[in-house]
C-alpha cells in the first residue's frame, strides 16, 4: 500500500480549477518528484495534502487513513511534515526555538522538555546547523534558512516529508549538498515527495516523477521516461518558446 495516495483530487478557486481530478501515489521509502510549469498546481496539491486548503472533491489517504476534513496540525501529528516555497520560519525566535516548536508539537503524544530539546539538537545536527542554534533567522543566509526549515520539519518525526521547491535559489554546489541531504533523509526511513524546478535534483535523486500541467496530471514515470516523454517536452519547450517571444 502506498504511504500516500490521492484519487480524483480536485481544487477549485472560484471558477478556476487549480488541481483537476488528479490521481497520485507515493510508495513508502520512495523519493518522488512533482514537476510542471509555473501555475501547474504543484504547491496547491501540497496544500491539499497538508490541509492548508480543503479539497473541493476527491480523497487523499495517508497510510490508508483519509485526510479529508482534518486540520493541518492533526495531519502533522499523523506523520506528514512539510517545508514551504516561501520560507515560513518563526521570525521572532532564534534557530533552536524554531526547531523546538516542531519537536514539541509535531508528535501525537506529549513529549518532555528534555526529549524535545534532544530531538531539536539531533535535527539541527542532521542538517548541519548545530553551530548556529542561537542565531536569529533573519540573519541567516537563504541556504541556512532552508536547512532550518528542514530541521524543523524533521523534528516533528515525520514518516512523509513534503519538500516544496527546496532547491530554489541555491547555487550548483548548494544543490548538490541539498540532494545529499534529501537522500540521507530517505535513508533514515522517511518518504520524500518533492516539488522541484531544478531538473538536476529531479534527475539525480527521484525514483519516480509526476508531471502536472494546468492542474492535470499528464505524465508519470521514472525520470528517464519523463524526460523523453513527448507531451512533457512539448509543455516545457512550449513554455520556453512563449517566454522567448
Amino acid at each position: 500500500m502506498p504511504i500516500l495516495e490521492g484519487q480524483g483530487v480536485t481544487k477549485n478557486f472560484g471558477g478556476l480549477a487549480a488541481v483537476s481530478n488528479v490521481d497520485f501515489h507515493v510508495g513508502q521509502g520512495e523519493i518522488a518528484g512533482l514537476i510542471g510549469p509555473n501555475g501547474a498546481g504543484k504547491t496547491t496539491l501540497f496544500n491539499l495534502i497538508s490541509a492548508a486548503h480543503p479539497l473541493s472533491s476527491g480523497v487523499i489517504r495517508f497510510k490508508g487513513q483519509k485526510l479529508n476534513g482534518l486540520k493541518p496540525h492533526q495531519i502533522c501529528r499523523m506523520g506528514v511534515a512539510r517545508t514551504f516555497q516561501e520560507i515560513k520560519l518563526f521570525g521572532n525566535m532564534p534557530v533552536f526555538q524554531n526547531v523546538l516548536v516542531g519537536a514539541f508539537f509535531g508528535t501525537p503524544t506529549r513529549i518532555s522538555a528534555a526529549d524535545a530539546a534532544r530531538e531539536a539538537n539531533q535535527a539541527l545536527e542532521f542538517v548541519g546547523m548545530s553551530a548556529m542554534t542561537a542565531t536569529l533567522v533573519q540573519d541567516l543566509t537563504l541556504v541556512n534558512q532552508k536547512r532550518v526549515e528542514v530541521a524543523r520539519a524533521l523534528a516533528t518525526r515525520p514518516e512523509l516529508l513534503l519538500l516544496d521547491e527546496m532547491m530554489a535559489g541555491l547555487n550548483t554546489a548548494e544543490v548538490s549538498e541539498a540532494m545529499e541531504l534529501v537522500t540521507k533523509i530517505r535513508d533514515k526511513g522517511i518518504t520524500i515527495f518533492m516539488v522541484e524546478h531544478v531538473m538536476k535534483a529531479i534527475m539525480g535523486i527521484c525514483e519516480r516523477v509526476m508531471v502536472l500541467h494546468h492542474g492535470e496530471k499528464i505524465a508519470e514515470g521514472t525520470p528517464q521516461e519523463i524526460v523523453t516523454n513527448k507531451e512533457v517536452i512539448e509543455i516545457y519547450l512550449g513554455e520556453e518558446t512563449r517566454a522567448a517571444s
Binding site: 493541518p72 496540525h73 502533522c76 520560519l89 516548536v101 522538555a113 516533528t156
Partner: protein
C-alpha cells in the same frame, strides 16, 4: 561558569521581586490612605496591562477587549455584591467574575479566532459597546433603574485583593511565557500557517490564552467596583480601560514580563498627575505617545535595552581601541 552566573542573576531577581512584594504588602501600615488608593490604581493597571500582553504580545493578535472584561467584572460585582443585599461573599464574587469573563472570552474567541485576525479585532473592539448596551437594556427593561450600588470595601481590603490578583496574574504570565504553551503562542505570532503545520493547534491555543487573560481583567473589575461603589454602563464599559493597558504594554515593551509592569507604573502615575491639571489634553498626549511608540519603538522600552547595551558596548570598545592606539603611538 555561565550556569552559576545565570543562577545567581535569577536569585537576585527573585529576591528583588520578593522584597517589592513585602514592601507592598506592608505598605498599608505606614502609607497614607490616598497613597494606598494610588497604589491600588497602579496595581489595577499593571494587572490589565500584563494580562493584555499575555495574549496579544506573543500572538500578535491585537485585542481591544480589556475594557469589556473589566466591565463584566464590575457588573458581576454589581449584581452579586449589591449594596444592602450581597448574594455572595467577596472572594466568591471575584471568582464568579473570573468565571463569567472566562466564558464570555471563550465564546468570543471560538467564534472569531478561527477566522482572520481582522474579525477578531473588530469583534474585540465592538465587545465593549455591545456588553454596555446589553447591560443598559437589562437595567432599563428588567431592573428599571440605571446604575447599581455595590458594597463598599475599605481601602485596605481593596488593596490586598488587588495585590493578590496581581501576584496571581504575574505568576500565570511568567509560567505561561516559559512553558511550551508560551512557545506555541510565539509560533503563532511568528508565522501562524507554519505553526499549524508543525502540529500547533492554533485555534485552541489562541482561544484558551485569550480566555485566561480575560479572567484577570474580570477579577480586577470586580474589586474595583467595591471602590467605586456606584457603577453604570458608561463608567463600567469605558474604552479608556482598553486604551490604557494597550498604551502601557506597548510602551513598556512586550518582549519581557516586566515591560508592561513598567509601562503601567509610569502611565498610571502620569495619569494621576495630568488628569487633575489638564483633563482633556493628557489623553491627546497619551494617544500621540502610543502612535509614536508603535511607529518608532515597536519593542517598547524593553526592546530599547538590548540596543542601548550594544551601543554602550560599542562605545566602550571604541574607547579601549583609542587607548591602545595611543599607547602604540607613544612607544
Amino acid at each position: 561558569m555561565d550556569i552559576t552566573v545565570f543562577k545567581s542573576k535569577k536569585l537576585v531577581v527573585v529576591g528583588l521581586v520578593l522584597l517589592i512584594l513585602i514592601w507592598l504588602a506592608t505598605s498599608p501600615l505606614y502609607a497614607s490612605s490616598s497613597n494606598i488608593r494610588l497604589l491600588s490604581t497602579i496595581l489595577m493597571y499593571i494587572i490589565l496591562a500584563v494580562s493584555w500582553a499575555m495574549f496579544s504580545g506573543p500572538t500578535g493578535y491585537m485585542s481591544l477587549a480589556p475594557a469589556a472584561f473589566f466591565g463584566v467584572g464590575i457588573y458581576t460585582a454589581a449584581f452579586l455584591y449589591a449594596r444592602g443585599s450581597p448574594l455572595l461573599p467577596l472572594p466568591a464574587v471575584i471568582v464568579a467574575a473570573c468565571a463569567i469573563s472566562f466564558v464570555i472570552a471563550l465564546l468570543v474567541g471560538l467564534v472569531t479566532l478561527r477566522l482572520k485576525g481582522i474579525y477578531f479585532a473588530i469583534f474585540s473592539f465592538g465587545l465593549i459597546v455591545l456588553l454596555g448596551l446589553i447591560v443598559q437594556y437589562w437595567e432599563n427593561q428588567i431592573i428599571g433603574r440605571r446604575g447599581q450600588h455595590v458594597v463598599a470595601e475599605g481601602t485596605e481590603t481593596v488593596f490586598y485583593v488587588m495585590l493578590a490578583i496581581l501576584v496571581a496574574t504575574l505568576l500565570v504570565a511568567y509560567f505561561l511565557r516559559r512553558s511550551r504553551w508560551g512557545m506555541a503562542m510565539l509560533s503563532i505570532g511568528g508565522n501562524e500557517e507554519a505553526a499549524t503545520h508543525m502540529g500547533v493547534n492554533t485555534t485552541m491555543v489562541k482561544v484558551f490564552t485569550f480566555a485566561i487573560s480575560a479572567t484577570f481583567m474580570g477579577a480586577v473589575g470586580a474589586i474595583m467596583a467595591t471602590r467605586w461603589i456606584y457603577v453604570d454602563p458608561s463608567t463600567a464599559f469605558n474604552p479608556m480601560y482598553s486604551f490604557m493597558p494597550v498604551l502601557m504594554a506597548v510602551f513598556g515593551g512586550m518582549g519581557q514580563l516586566y515591560g508592561p509592569v513598567l509601562g503601567a507604573a509610569v502611565f498610571a502615575y502620569l495619569e494621576r498627575i495630568l488628569r487633575r491639571e489638564f483633563p482633556a489634553y493628557y489623553m491627546i498626549v497619551f494617544g500621540v505617545i502610543l502612535i509614536i511608540v508603535v511607529l518608532f519603538l515597536p519593542g517598547g522600552l524593553v526592546g530599547l535595552i538590548p540596543k542601548l547595551r550594544d551601543r554602550l558596548r560599542g562605545v566602550i570598545a571604541k574607547l579601549r581601541k583609542g587607548g591602545q592606539t595611543e599607547q602604540h603611538a607613544n612607544t
